[in-house]
């Protein structure tokens, strides 16, 4: 099975317009990040200035050192990574078989299953946090990575299953049949044929789960006490004081927290390109 790289659907003379529009939208969407960058390059004396200024008079890189050494940022990074990677892995593990079953197999309760996963999404974490705390307390999962890994995977399940089942379903059955005729087992078919074709869907759900877990705040706040297990989301809040916030440190740490996510996305986005050759892909 070969894939052809996607080519643009617009001719080259449309490109300058595309670039212009992209730039304009980027300016709008990235506005707070410009603020973030200008804040993290200044000392505490220049944070509260009015009228505010975009360029600090005395830019400094001190905040990076401060934030890293004083606040154990490395530890927060490690915790966030463990939770996010674990949650993505667990989510993949559980939703791929489930999505395949829903997409390919006929059985009673197929639609019910999809509905049920949706039901979980209708309750905001705010509503269930205390009950989950009690459950975790009983299972001795408080203050543990496993607890957060599981709960993050659970809350990403609906999206994964719905999206992946959609992707699986859109792959023509003929392709699987062809593999069977070639003598592959269902298992081999899935791993070697279907998953690669559904790569865009897999990439999307992985990124979604990773980001959701990386940025999750409420459960981490409620379940984690041990400082060595605190993820970045909690760590960042250390800079929000009772009477004032240390914006220069907060923005620095927040900036550092985004970098891994962006890097991950940059690396993985190649796999967003994929799909079928031949045959129309009707949603």
């Amino acid at each position: 099975m070969k894939f052809r790289p996607r080519r643009s659907k617009w001719r080259s003379r449309g490109k300058p317009l595309v670039l212009l529009l992209t730039l304009a939208l980027l300016l709008v969407m990235l506005f707070p990040f410009f603020v973030m960058i200008t804040m993290m390059l200044r000392s505490s004396q220049e944070v509260y200035v009015t009228p505010p200024r975009w360029i600090p008079h005395a830019p400094t890189l001190r905040n990076f050192a401060l934030v890293w050494s004083q606040y154990l940022l490395a530890g927060y990074f490690k915790s966030s990574a463990i939770i996010a990677i674990g949650a993505s892995a667990l989510n993949m593990l559980l939703s791929i078989p489930a999505a395949y079953a829903i997409a390919r197999l006929r059985f009673k309760g197929r639609q019910v299953a999809l509905y049920l996963f949706l039901v979980v999404q209708m309750f905001s974490p705010v509503v269930v946090v205390i009950s989950l705390f009690k459950t975790f307390a009983r299972l001795n999962l408080l203050d543990s990575y496993i607890g957060l890994i599981v709960i993050n995977a659970v809350f990403s399940m609906a999206f994964s299953i719905w999206l992946l089942s959609g992707y699986f379903k859109s792959i023509p059955v003929e392709i699987e049949e062809a593999a069977f005729i070639d003598g592959a087992t269902r298992w081999q078919t899935v791993i070697q044929v279907i998953l690669p074709i559904a790569a865009p869907g897999l990439v999307t759900t992985t990124i979604y789960t990773f980001i959701a877990a990386w940025n999750e705040f409420l459960f981490a706040l409620s379940f984690i006490q041990n400082q060595t297990k605190m993820p970045l989301t909690l760590g960042l809040y250390r800079f929000v004081g009772r009477w004032s916030s240390q914006w220069e440190l907060l923005t620095t740490a927040a900036f550092l927290a985004i970098i891994p996510v962006l890097v991950l996305f940059y690396v993985i986005q190649q796999r967003l390109v994929g799909g079928l050759t031949g045959g129309a892909v009707k949603g």
């Binding site: 449309g14 595309v18 399940m157 940059y266 009707k282």
Partner: protein
């Protein structure tokens, strides 16, 4: 002889297929419901009991809590606002997401960087992003009003978080800002699966760009559109941080939606029973929405 493992076996292998299906579904179902059954049941219980200030059940009161909540005019205002908030935010997120996805679908050097940059609003933790936005919106120290002034766009920009309407706009923009990358990503991944031949043959027929979008792109990603807008609606309806951290639901509850009211009732007023009632009502509203959606979705399958 027919290979019984083939997905299109002529004999209806319901039992074997079904068994396999249940087996494959089992891990996910066990994981999700193992953890969520108790919380969901407990929420329902809290809505029909009186609770103490820690949410512990006291005595059964039937529908009394529901009557108390639903006879408050403020509740209906908040509910209406929640629906309006969801409708507006999801529409704008879908629209903006689609435009960005189309733009990122075009090949050019540096596209990978552009894609990465558009993900940024989503890459940051929501409470921190919203805090950052509250700083941006600050009337004295915020760079938004400052920039609006010096670029001449607005000589007297509003005090965003101080008034009902501008507060609503400020909050909904943040919600949209956070949600657009997700939509763009999902749409983009869908668009990437569309084979080139379709566009090429359309070009041969002399079809315009817009028509290509309507007749090729859209239909191909229609199911992805449905899934993402449905899930976005569920998430947007319950988007707590965007409003609470910016305006606290104020001024005077004019930017409250159901989820912020639920939080206030539970954690500020310590009225877990009222909060649970609103959560249950939220559930009914979202279920109704999902049923309508899903019916459409499943109808298209057959």
């Amino acid at each position: 002889m027919v290979n019984e493992g083939a997905p299109t076996a002529k004999r209806r292998l319901l039992t074997r297929e079904a068994r396999l299906a249940y087996l494959l579904l089992l891990p996910a179902v066990v994981c999700v419901f193992g953890f969520m059954v108790y919380p969901l049941v407990y929420v329902v219980m809290m809505s029909i009991f009186r609770t103490n200030r820690l949410g512990w059940l006291q005595n059964f009161v039937g529908l009394a809590n529901f009557i108390e909540v639903m006879s408050d005019l403020e509740f209906w205002r908040i509910t209406g606002r929640s629906l309006f908030w969801t409708l507006l935010a999801v529409s704008l997120k879908t629209f903006l997401g689609m435009i960005i996805a189309l733009l990122l679908n075009v090949e050019y050097r540096g596209r990978k960087i552009a894609r990465m940059l558009f993900i940024a609003p989503w890459a940051s933790s929501v409470p921190i992003s919203v805090l950052l936005w509250s700083w941006v919106y600050n009337p004295q120290f915020g760079l938004l009003n400052h920039t609006l002034r010096i670029t001449g766009i607005s000589a007297n920009p509003p005090i965003w978080l101080g008034y009902p309407i501008s507060g609503f706009i400020a909050a909904i923009w943040v919600d949209i800002w956070i949600g657009v990358p997700f939509m763009a990503l999902v749409f983009l991944s869908g668009m990437q699966s569309i084979p080139d031949e379709l566009y090429e043959s359309a070009d041969l027929d002399g079809v315009t760009g817009f028509q290509k979008f309507i007749y090729i792109t859209l239909p191909s990603i229609v199911r992805i559109l449905q899934i993402s807008t449905l899930l976005s609606a569920l998430w947007t309806f319950n988007d707590f941080n965007s409003i609470y951290i910016l305006t606290g639901g104020g001024p005077v509850n004019t930017t409250d939606i159901l989820i912020t009211s639920i939080y206030k009732n539970a954690f500020v007023y310590a009225r877990f029973d009222r909060a649970a009632v609103m959560a249950v009502i939220t559930f009914f509203i979202l279920t109704a929405l999902s049923v309508v959606y899903a019916r459409h979705y499943f109808k298209e399958e057959s």
